[in-house]
């Protein structure tokens, strides 16, 4: 029997939760909250990618977070300057867990925070001279840095600085790429525009600027994997097992050379569609490179995706793909055997960024679990279109939900597991509800790939079946009277 509420039940729940809103916000929020229709009917279409209402406690971030935090930050041999006041770089320093290999401070700059630390005089007189000086100092103190990116914070676009001119001049003087990125936090409505702006800056300043000597018919680029807890490494392993040659990783554990030579790929395979479909479309238009979406969460989607990717290649690859799938089977079965009986029938609510609200559904289902509600922090219409068929009818969909909505839905639906971010985590802990962070993998991972499925299953089991959840009630009442068992 399904644990998912009916469409009518979900509609009633949504109406009830919206009751307290002022008229304007209520009308607007209603468009973002719908019961799922797997057929994707118009009346159940979720409105998305529009401004958050002020004062509602959105979980969204900004364009800077989308560019520096997501797309550019993981590129390890480039120094990323958080250009503006100190805060943005400080709060995003090393917390996303995009793993990278290399010597920190020498040829790997991912776990560091470089900032122009704007002072009042920089806002008043402009920061261009300071920026030029910073570029020189980076070249001198970090001679193995292969490039510099300038990640604009809010003030840059408001005070009229010309970071493009500075970037051109510095690149000429220093002999390395210097990339200006106009990802000021007030642009757009969420992280999403920052992804797009970052993609465009790579397109305009890096992509196709280098060549390699050797190419093969099996060259692919792994796009939209940020290597959270090693995700990209676990994914790369599958692609290599299929016989493919991965010439670039975007952008987890990536390098500027990989970005610059990706135009030589025969196929772009993309995991996070939301944050990097732009560059795939660019390469399709500019170089005729096809691209294909895939999903490496859980056995069902992994196998489906491997076969879909293999279709782009010859029999050699198809055969190796089947052989790889066969070799994974025992591992998949072992995980399902071990954790399935502990997790079967458990219900899940999700609120994640732009991919995982749909991409992890299959992995939960592989363990016999059921996703009864999901939502995106910064998804677009095409993300929801891809989501409707993945969920049962009546599951609640929430776009950019407010803290109030998420808490109210969870109180009413009482899922066995909530998966969202660190801002949400402790709210649900107070409510006695098992929780996993689904942005950072709660400091675990990888969750992608064959080995990642085992880690995923183990972590969900840890969250749901830990005995501490049984300790919430003392053996006395609120007024202190001891309850005899």
């Amino acid at each position: 029997m399904s644990a998912t509420p009916t469409r009518e039940q979900t509609e009633a729940m949504i109406a009830d939760v919206l009751e307290v809103y002022p008229a304007k916000a209520k009308k607007e929020r209603a468009r973002h909250l719908k019961p799922n229709d797997p057929a994707g009917s118009k009346e159940c279409a979720v409105k998305s990618n529009v401004k958050s209402r002020p004062g509602v406690m959105t979980i969204r971030g900004c364009a800077y977070a989308g560019s520096k935090g997501v797309v550019w930050g993981p590129v390890k041999d480039v120094v990323h300057i958080s250009h503006g006041p100190v805060g943005c770089g400080q709060y995003s320093w090393s917390t996303r867990r995009n793993y990278s290999r290399g010597t920190v401070g020498v040829d790997n700059f991912v776990p560091m925070q470089f900032t122009s630390d704007f002072q009042e005089r920089d806002v008043v007189f402009g920061g261009d001279k300071k920026l030029a000086k910073i570029n020189q100092e980076i070249a001198e103190l970090f001679p193995l840095a292969k490039g510099i990116s300038i990640q604009s914070e809010c003030p840059i676009g408001l005070i009229g600085d010309d970071i493009e001119a500075v970037a051109r001049q510095s690149a000429k003087e220093l002999g390395i790429p210097v990339v200006p990125v106009r990802c000021e936090g007030f642009r757009g409505v969420s992280q999403s525009l920052g992804h797009h702006i970052a993609n465009d800056s790579i397109r305009d300043w890096v992509l196709g600027t280098r060549d390699t000597t050797m190419q093969t018919p099996y060259d692919v680029a792994l796009i939209g994997d940020y290597n959270i807890g090693g995700d990209a490494w676990a994914s790369r392993k599958i692609l290599e097992d299929m016989g493919l040659r991965v010439i670039a990783q975007w952008s987890g554990d990536g390098t500027i050379n990989e970005l610059a030579t990706t135009h030589l790929a025969k196929l772009n395979v993309i995991h996070c569609y939301r944050s990097m479909n732009y560059i795939c479309r660019t390469m399709e238009e500019r170089y005729g490179i096809p691209w294909v979406e895939y999903n490496f969460f859980g056995p069902t989607k992994i196998v489906e995706s491997m076969r879909r990717i293999a279709e782009f290649f010859d029999d050699t690859i198809r055969e190796r793909t089947e052989a790889a799938i066969a070799s994974y089977q025992a591992k998949f079965d072992e995980v399902r055997e071990r954790y399935g009986k502990r997790l079967a029938g458990k219900t899940v609510m999700l609120l994640v960024g732009g991919l995982r609200p749909r991409h992890t559904i299959g992995a939960y289902e592989d363990l016999g679990m059921e996703v009864i509600g999901t939502g995106y922090e910064f998804g677009h219409g095409d993300d929801y279109t891809r989501t409707y068929p993945e969920l049962k009818e009546g599951a609640v969909l929430y776009d950019d939900p407010t803290a109030f909505e998420l808490e109210e839905f969870a109180r009413r639906l009482r899922p066995d597991l909530m998966g969202a971010g660190v801002k949400e985590k402790y709210v649900f802990h107070k409510m006695g509800m098992p929780f996993r962070q689904m942005h950072s993998w709660d400091y675990s991972g990888p969750y992608h790939g064959v080995e990642g499925f085992a880690v995923f299953a183990r972590d969900m089991d840890i969250a749901i079946n830990n005995p501490s959840w049984n300790l919430f009630q003392p053996p006395w009442t609120r007024s202190g009277e001891v309850v005899t068992p």
Binding site: V20, Y21, P22, A25, S52, R53, P54, G55, V56, M57, T58, I59, R60, G61, C62, D77, G84, V86, G87, Q90, Y91, W93, S94, T95, V106, T115, S116, Q119, E120, V123, I134, E137, I138, L141, L144, K146, C154, P155, L158, G185, F186, R187, G188, G229, G230, W233, K237, T261, R338, R342, V422, K423, K430, M431, G445, P446, R458, D461, F472, Q473
Partner: protein
Amino acid sequence: MSITPPPASEVKDHNELFEAPEYQAQFERKREFEAGCSSDEVERIRQWTRSAEYREKNFAREALTVNPAKACQPLGAVLAGLGFAGTLPLVHGSQGCVAYFRSHFARHFKEPVPTVSSSMTEDAAVFGGLNNMVEALDNATALYRPDMIAISTTCMAEVIGDDLHAFIEEARQKGSVPPGYLLPFAHTPSFVGSHLTGYDNMLRAILEHLAKDRRGRPTGRINLVPGFDTNVGDHRELGRLLNLMGVDHVILGDHSAALDSPADGEYQLYPGGTPLGEAAEAINARATVFLQETATRRTSELVRDVWGQEAVTLTPPIGVNNTDRFVAEVARLAGVTVPREITLERGRLIDALTDSHAYLHGRRVAIAGDPDLVVGLLGFLLELGMEPVHVVSTNGDASFRERAEAVLATSPFGAGATVWPGKDLWHLRSLVFTEPVDLLIGNSYLKYLSREAQVPLWRVGFPIFDRHHLHRFPILGYTGALHLLTQLVNTVLEELDRTAPDHSFDIVR
């Protein structure tokens, strides 16, 4: 659960998985596409970055900041707001900032951090954020029903020159909030000062707002202002001490309830904080004691110059002498004697110090953090016979230098120290490689240097993301000092065991 739990360690995660030969081979293959530097070159540069020559270049930096140990104003403003009962912080400007403040605090406190944004975007950059403010107040009051909204600003709102006072008055006229609703506000530009400045600005605004027209009969109370103190155990410890002394007091800015609330099955948005009525009475108190200087500078001016109250700013009561001064000062202000129980507590601390001194005496230390924390800790280190060598505070100013040097001058153990206001953790790295130390003291971000230089790190300060629950215990008062001492000496002992040859692996330390 009747089914036997599988051992978590049977599954290899990122800690072990990638050590496997197939992954190591994968990493080797990937190098072909990276066009990276040779390992010889990497090693050569690595050694060079540890040299005296590099230190000189590093300290010649004029424009670039690398790994700073400070954050921006509105972060502090949010903490100030969370210190008052029923209060929701609202930050006017871009919404990403609030996402960052909430996650930053959540990672340190392991607690929910309710804060809202007025979510300004490009149109607001052109036309100003008035409409955002009005709607933010409409929505926040409807959804979250706070008793007070503490309003601060992001740098976006500051750069375009939004006028909070005018906006709030307009929102009142439009009926966004009921008449007389509490809406303290502070401009908190992130390109001025640090999170401490923002804490100060917001705290002053809240107290000014609450105490307006409230001057009345003297209460005889003592106001206590801990400041930007991220050890929530401190607020409780201070309360306990003052209760023991029989001092009628109120803590102004007590975020210990908001950031250390019980898990009992129900999430409470506003689990406590300084009651608004009591905060309003602060103006009528006998005196106000400030336990940080940098984070309360403008607030202490309010108390001293506007309220005309006795305002005493002390070094945070960290360690014996600092706590002695605090206890003595409170006793003087309140006209009470110090109870025997506190003297006993003090004695137990001294007993513990004497037990541990041999492992701490003469140990060379590098310390980095917020200015007042560092000044307080320096006093404690000197009492233990430890030798501060590098003293760094990215948000420390001339006043910090003066105060730190004054403390160092009180002891021969402070003679070898240099105070570095305004420097960052990349400067600290050069200092530690060219003039080595035995121990690092600071926040979680020092762990990179700790690992690279193979110097143990004792975590104190903010943020601490990678160790659990330290912030739940006090570091102030004699009890706080006992917690600090326990962590400190055991950090040293762990390192001793870790590096000891077999024969010196002693069972008794």
